[in-house]
């Protein structure tokens, strides 16, 4: 019993000694609360952006997220952040009704709030100063316009989650930007199913020369495979939203036209930079800042593959 108590006391003393110096700093503190888990490759890029901005702007940043996609827990994390009275709060808003009260509480507390990644339509209403993210409609339009420029006339948009507002907007934007005839193909989020359905669609309508996928690893790669299997490698152009290593390889090899990069590193970096300058000098941009789209064509693909290994793209 005695040795256990001495052991515990020693451990406690060591912990206190280790953390005491850290709490002595008095820099501005910015807290990021997002719905993306630390082990998700997409979100670890956002976190790298946040950390880099913290170092560059010389502010303390903390990145907080629930262990799983849990809106209730995320609201509680926002409350915890508000209680610590940071110089700025950055949030993503995947569910406006669940997170609304917590965000409004932050605004009432006088904390500057910037939203990023999701929730661009509710951001202003909830009291955020601005939103940094990719507007899905505009991104779709840019992708559609580029494919039209490349010579596309008849298109297919592969939607793997009908009812998900962001994905529906991507297809809608693509249709507007493309100009030609576009069919939306609803599929499940099983890659094998996507491959089969795209192949069937290409076979039934031979005039299709463009296919737009809404997620690179989930839908983009099976689409490239389906186009190859249907023997239409040169005739049909494939493009996709978001990045994945294999899809970028396909772009480098000329099997896919481009990938739409929403540059989530900027979704982490820019809000921290804005709030740090706001805390120091009271500066704030006058409107939303689009972090993307950036169309990664063959020329840019090699650099992106390098950086994606480092967790920057």
């Amino acid at each position: 019993m005695k040795s256990l108590i001495t052991g515990l006391a020693a451990a406690a003393a060591l912990t206190l000694a280790a953390v005491a110096p850290a709490s002595a700093q008095q820099n501005s503190r910015i807290i990021v609360v997002s719905h993306g888990q630390a082990n998700d490759p997409f979100w670890s890029v956002v976190k790298n952006g946040v950390t880099a901005a913290g170092q560059d702007m010389k502010v303390q940043v903390d990145y907080r997220a629930p262990e799983t996609f849990d809106m209730v827990a995320m609201g509680q994390l926002i409350d915890a952040a508000v209680n610590q009275k940071p110089a700025g709060l950055i949030v993503s808003i995947p569910d406006a009704s669940a997170l609304g009260p917590a965000i409004q509480k932050a605004v009432s507390a006088g904390i500057p709030v910037v939203s990023m990644n999701s929730g661009s339509d509710v951001s202003k209403k909830l009291g955020a100063l601005l939103h940094v993210g990719q507007d899905e409609l505009d991104a779709g339009k840019a992708a559609g316009a580029k494919l039209k420029e490349m010579g596309g006339k008849v298109g297919l948009c592969v939607n793997h989650e009908v009812g998900n507002v962001s994905l529906d907007l991507r297809c809608k934007g693509f249709t507007e930007g493309f100009g030609g005839k576009v069919t939306v193909l609803p599929v499940s989020n099983d890659p094998a199913d996507i491959r089969a359905k795209v192949k069937a669609a290409l076979a039934s309508d031979t005039s299709i020369d463009t296919v737009m996928a809404l997620g690179a690893s989930l839908a983009g790669e099976p689409t490239v495979a389906a186009v190859k299997e249907a023997g239409k490698g040169g005739a049909v152009r494939v493009a996709s939203f978001d990045l994945s290593a294999n899809f970028l390889k396909a772009v480098s090899a000329g099997e896919a036209a481009f990938a739409v990069d929403q540059q989530q590193y900027l979704q982490g970096y820019l809000p921290v930079a804005f709030l740090a300058l706001n805390a120091k000098y009271g500066l704030i941009p006058g409107g939303n800042v689009p972090s993307g789209p950036n169309l990664i064509t063959k020329e840019k693909a090699a650099q992106v593959v390098d950086l994606s290994a480092k967790g920057i793209r």
Binding site: D62, Y63, V72, D79, N83, A109
Partner: protein
């Protein structure tokens, strides 16, 4: 007949007036108050709570221990705690229910469907959700009893079934989305809404704020407007569960069924009824948590309650319940849930990198359970 005269003892004046001295039975050893306190199953959980509090007092931002900070910690603790107390009762009864996390999501779906699709008024929707949950819990219990399979396996199967049904049901009910919105608006206002969502004692807190006892935000609104209703439900549920376990016959039955089901059955305890009832209780507790969180959030989605079943069991074990059944307490699960809430939210008040959070959570839980085990072995004299 021979008369035998009894020798008479000399009667002195002292014997006639002095009352007889109470006999000290030297076979009984009086345990000191401290030892008696240490023998209770909750002690390990309380000691764990003290340890965790000391850790955060030294490493966390001081705002964690303000009134707003404590409410912030107790809210997730209470939502987990309602599940943990029910899981503790079931564990004392000798069974596990791994489906309660998925039941939270499923009950949220059912509740939303009753309100939005069939348009029922709030009290009816709440009652119907609890009934459906109780029926599913009863189904769990009956399958476990009749097939004599370990409850671990049966409820694990239901974990997947209910999670899948929640996803399928949500997509069907909302026309393709995995979220159901607008439930808060449909539920309306009223007495029933006040009981199941929002804050209690708002009048008291407003009065305290006007007298500057509670801190205010820069725009004048108080930082804490009331006690979140889930905390009140949590405390009530823990008290009722403790009273049932320690003061009623049903409590004895629960301990007996968990200690040795066969011996209990032979002593006349209706073990099957007790176990089925406990499964229905855990399912209803999950439905209650679903109702509370859905009304507060105004929406539900397919991932609610994910992995909560494991957290509830961990909270119960930290609180002193044995995995083998027959020993434990509801108050212990109460403290176990508070430890869990304090660790998971408290880590966000520290400056540790969030990548380390799961490591810390696991380490603290292991420490709390080891400490609990050590104390229990020491005081019950186990070898």
């Amino acid at each position: 007949m021979v008369e035998i005269s009894q020798p008479t003892a000399p009667v002195g004046p002292a014997d006639a007036v002095a009352s007889p001295k109470p006999v000290q039975d030297e076979r009984l050893r009086e345990a000191s108050l401290l030892t008696k306190a240490m023998r209770r199953p909750e002690l390990g959980a309380l000691a764990g709570l003290v340890l965790v509090t000391i850790f955060f007092l030294s490493t966390a931002d001081s705002s964690m221990f303000t009134l707003a900070g404590m409410m912030n910690i107790l809210t997730p603790a209470s939502q987990l705690g309602i599940l943990a107390v029910a899981a503790a009762l079931l564990m004392i009864g000798g069974e596990f229910d791994l489906s309660i996390g998925s039941m939270v999501a499923f009950a949220g779906l059912i509740f939303g469907a009753f309100l939005l699709l069939t348009g029922w008024p709030l009290p009816l929707a709440i009652a119907a959700t609890l009934v459906v949950a109780a029926l599913l819990g009863g189904l769990n219990g009956q399958i476990v009893i009749r097939t004599r399979l370990p409850s671990f396996i049966v409820t694990l199967a239901f974990l997947f079934i209910l999670r899948g049904l929640s996803l399928v049901g949500l997509k069907w009910a909302s026309g393709g989305s995995t979220q159901m919105r607008g439930i808060g608006d449909q539920a309306g206002e009223g007495v029933v809404r006040e009981i199941f969502s929002g804050n209690a004692l708002e009048g008291l807190f407003a009065w305290l704020a006007s007298h500057d006892v509670i801190a205010k935000f820069p725009n004048g609104t108080p930082t804490v407007t009331g006690v979140p209703v889930s905390i009140v439900w949590f405390i009530l549920f823990a008290l009722v569960a403790t009273w049932i376990l320690l003061r009623t016959r049903a409590g004895n039955w629960i301990f007996a069924a968990g200690g040795d089901a066969n011996a209990a059955r032979n002593s006349g305890v209706p073990v099957d009824r007790v176990k089925t009832g406990l499964f229905m209780l855990t399912a209803c507790a999950a439905a209650l948590v679903a109702i509370l969180t859905v009304l507060d959030a105004g929406s539900t989605d397919a991932r609610r309650g994910f992995q909560k079943e494991f957290e509830a069991i961990i909270a119960a074990v930290i609180g002193g319940c044995l995995l083998t059944g027959g020993y434990g307490s509801a108050i212990g699960a109460f403290f176990g849930a508070i430890i869990f809430g304090m660790v998971s939210i408290g880590l966000t008040y520290t400056r540790f990198d969030s990548d380390w959070f799961q490591v810390f959570l696991g380490a603290m839980l292991l420490l709390a359970v080891l400490f609990n085990n050590f104390i229990r072995r020491k005081v019950t004299g186990e070898r």
